[in-house]
C-alpha cells in the first residue's frame, strides 16, 4: 500500500479537528447544563417566592419568565393539605412535605420540584427535567455547528497548502526522471526547504560515488581495449607471416609464433576477467576461514612444472596450520599470480613461498632470486598495465598480475609490501591477512 504524505496529513489534521470539536462540544454541553440548572433553579425559587406574596386567586406567573408558562406547574396547598390551586388541572404532582429542591419521578417523567412552606400554605413549583437537557443540547449545537460547517472547507485548504509545501519534492523527482542514466551531476541544493536538504545531500553524495565508480569503469574499459591491441596486433602480424611463409620450416616457425601470440591474448583476457571479478565493493563475499598453508601447498604444486622447465627451485616453507579469513578462490589466484611473477622474472636460483601465523595475522611471503624491482618503482607496480621498464621476459606480461594481487589483498583487509630478498637481491613480497578469529 502506498502512503501519501498529503493524504496522511489531511486525515490526521481533520481527525484532530474532529476530536477537538467533540471535546469542545462535550465540555460546552456540560457547562451549559450547570448554568441552566443554576438559572432555572433560581427561577423556580423566584416563582415560588412571588406566588407566596400573591393571593391564591390571581396565581399567574410573574412577567419576564425564562420558560414559557405552560412548561411550569404550580400548585398550592393549605396547611391542612387541601389543594387550593393548580395551574394544570390534569397534572397534579404529589405534595412534597419538605422545603427545597427535589427530583421527582412522576407520570413517566422526571421533574424538578421546588417546595416552599410558609406556615399557612405549601407552594410547589415544578418543570420537567427533559426541558433542561433540550436547552443544553441546543446551546451546544449552536457552539459546535460553525466548526462542523467549516470542516470541509478546512479539508480543502489543508489539501492545497500541503500540496504547495510538497512541491519541491515533486520538482526533484521530475528533475530526476528527466535525466539520462549517464547524467550524474549533483542536484541543485539552493532554495530547498530545510527538511529536504539532508535527503538531496545524501542523494548527491550517492550520485557522486556512482559517478566515480562509473568513471573508473570507463577508464578500465578504455585501458583494457588499449592493452588488448598489442597482443592482437602481434597475432595479426603473425598470422600474415604464416600466410606469407614459402617453405615448410618458415611456416612451422610462423605458426609457433602465432600460437604464442594467441596464448598471450588469452592470458590477458583471463587476467582482465579475474580483475573484474575482484570487485572492491563486495568485501564480505564468501568470507570463510581458509587453511592458507593448504592453499599455498596446492599453488606450489601447480607451478612446480613451470619452475622445473625454467631450471628453478620452488619450495614451500610452512610450519603448522595458518588461517586466513576470506574467499579461497581469490586467495589462490593472488598467490598464483605472485608465484607466476616470481618464476617469470627469475632466471637463476629459485622461489620460496613462506606461510606463517603471526599473532592475529596470517603472513604470506614469496621471495625470489630474480632481478627485483627498484625501490622507486615499487609504488607503481600495483597500477594496472604498468610494467617495470627494462624488465624483459620471454613472454610479454599482461601488466595486471600485481594489480589483481593488490585488489585481492584490499578486499581481504590485508596489507602488502615489497622489498629486496635476503641478501639485498631479488624480490620479497609480503602479504598480511587478518585471520579473523581474534
Amino acid at each position: 500500500m502506498t502512503s501519501s504524505i498529503r493524504g496522511q496529513l489531511l486525515a490526521w489534521l481533520l481527525g484532530a479537528l474532529m476530536v477537538g470539536g467533540l471535546l469542545i462540544g462535550y465540555s460546552a454541553y456540560h457547562r451549559a447544563q450547570q448554568d441552566i440548572d443554576e438559572l432555572l433553579d433560581y427561577q423556580l425559587k423566584q416563582l415560588a417566592f412571588s406566588l407566596s406574596h400573591q393571593s391564591v386567586g390571581s396565581a399567574s406567573p410573574p412577567p419576564g419568565l425564562l420558560l414559557p408558562e405552560p412548561d411550569f406547574i404550580t400548585q398550592v396547598w393549605d396547611k391542612d393539605g387541601v389543594l387550593m390551586f393548580y395551574s394544570r388541572p390534569n397534572l397534579a404532582i404529589p405534595m412534597r412535605p419538605r422545603q427545597g429542591f427535589s427530583n421527582v419521578e412522576w407520570n413517566h417523567q422526571a421533574w424538578r420540584v421546588y417546595t416552599q412552606l410558609d406556615g399557612f400554605r405549601t407552594i410547589q413549583v415544578a418543570h420537567p427535567l427533559s426541558l433542561r437537557e433540550e436547552m443544553a443540547a441546543s446551546l451546544t449545537r449552536r457552539a459546535v455547528m460553525p466548526l462542523v460547517l467549516l470542516l470541509p472547507l478546512l479539508g480543502v485548504g489543508i489539501w492545497i497548502i500541503v500540496g504547495q509545501a510538497l512541491r519541491p519534492l515533486s520538482s526533484i523527482s521530475s528533475a530526476l526522471r528527466a535525466r539520462t542514466p549517464s547524467a550524474l551531476e549533483p542536484l541543485p541544493q539552493r532554495d530547498l526547504p530545510e527538511e529536504l536538504v539532508p535527503m538531496v545531500g545524501s542523494l548527491n553524495d550517492l550520485l557522486q560515488r556512482l559517478n566515480r565508480a562509473l568513471e573508473a569503469q570507463r577508464q578500465f574499459i578504455a585501458d583494457a581495449a588499449h592493452e588488448l591491441r598489442s597482443p592482437l596486433t602481434a597475432v595479426q602480424l603473425q598470422l600474415q607471416l604464416v600466410k606469407r611463409a614459402g617453405t615448410a620450416e618458415e611456416r612451422a616457425a610462423a605458426l609457433e609464433r602465432l600460437e604464442r601470440g594467441v596464448q598471450r591474448s588469452t592470458r590477458l583476457v583471463q587476467q582482465l576477467l579475474t580483475l573484474a571479478r575482484q570487485d572492491p565493493q563486495d568485501a564480505a563475499a564468501g568470507s570463510t576461514s581458509i587453511d592458507l598453508d593448504h592453499v599455498a601447498g596446492e599453488v606450489v604444486a601447480d607451478f612446480e612444472p613451470m619452475a622445473q622447465r625454467d631450471g628453478l627451485t620452488l619450495t614451500l616453507d610452512s610450519q603448522g596450520p595458518v588461517h586466513a579469513q576470506g574467499d579461497e578462490d581469490s586467495l589462490r589466484v593472488m598467490l598464483g599470480n605472485l608465484v607466476d611473477n616470481a618464476i617469470r622474472y627469475t632466471s637463476r636460483g629459485g622461489v620460496v613461498v613462506r606461510v606463517q601465523q603471526m599473532g592475529s595475522d596470517a603472513v604470506l611471503e614469496v621471495e625470489d632470486t630474480g632481478a627485483g624491482i627498484p625501490a622507486d618503482e615499487r609504488a607503481r607496480v600495483f597500477d594496472r598495465f604498468y610494467r617495470v621498464p627494462g624488465q624483459k621476459t620471454e613472454e610479454e606480461g599482461s601488466g595486471l598480475g600485481l594489480a589483481i594481487v593488490k585488489r585481492v589483498v584490499d578486499r581481504h583487509g590485508g596489507r602488502i609490501s615489497l622489498d629486496s630478498g635476503t641478501g639485498g637481491s631479488g624480490l620479497r613480497v609480503t602479504v598480511q591477512l587478518p585471520s579473523g578469529n581474534s
Binding site: T233, Q240, L241, R244
Partner: protein, 220 residues
Amino acid sequence: MRLLLVEDDAMIGEAVRTGLRQDGFTVDWARDAESGDAAIKAEAYALLLLDLGLPRKSGLDWLRELRRRGNRTPVLILTARDAVADRVAGLDSGADDYLVKPFDLDELSARVRALLRRDAGRAEPLLRHGDLTLDPATHEANYRGETINLSAREFALLTALLERPGAILSRAQLEQRLYGWGEEVESNAVEVHIHHLRRKLGTDFIRNVRGLGYTVSKAS
C-alpha cells in the same frame, strides 16, 4: 634499405622485423628510445619506425629531440593510440606518417616504400634506369622487355645503386644497407651478389671503381 624499428613489444617487434625483411628491407630493432638513439647516432637509416608507448622515455619525446637535433630521417609512427588528437600530435612532433595498431604488414611495407620514395624526391613508384625497370612493391625486375629473377639481396643492392646513378658506393656501404644487426656477412658477399647481377644484366651495367666501390653510370 636499412630501417630502424623501435618497439618494446617483443612479439610485435619480431613479427614486423620478419615481415619487412621478407619485403627486402634490412631492419635493426631497438627495444627503447635510448638504444634507438644510440643506433641512429651510429648508422645511417633510410627510415625510422617508431612505437610511441616506450618504457621510460616516450617515443614522441624522443622524436621531438631528434628533430631539434636536426635529424631528417623519415619517421613512421606505429602506435595503438588512435585518437585524432594523438595522430595530430604525432605528425606535428615531426613524424611523416602514422599507422595505428593493429596494422597490415603489406600496408606497412607500402607506406615505408612511399616514404622512401618521397624522401628520394621521386613520385614514380618504379625505378627506371635505361632499359632496366625495378618495381619495389613486387620486387619484379624488367630488363630489355624481359622479366629477370633477382634474389632479395640482389634486388636491394641494385636498388641502392640505382637510387643515385653515378655515385660510387663502397663495399662497406653496401654491406651496411644489406645486413642488419646480428646478420652474418660473409667476407665476399657483396662481390658474389655483383657477380650474379652482372650475369643477368651484362658486365657493363655495374662498374667496379677499383679501390672505391661500385657504381652504375648516369642515365644514358
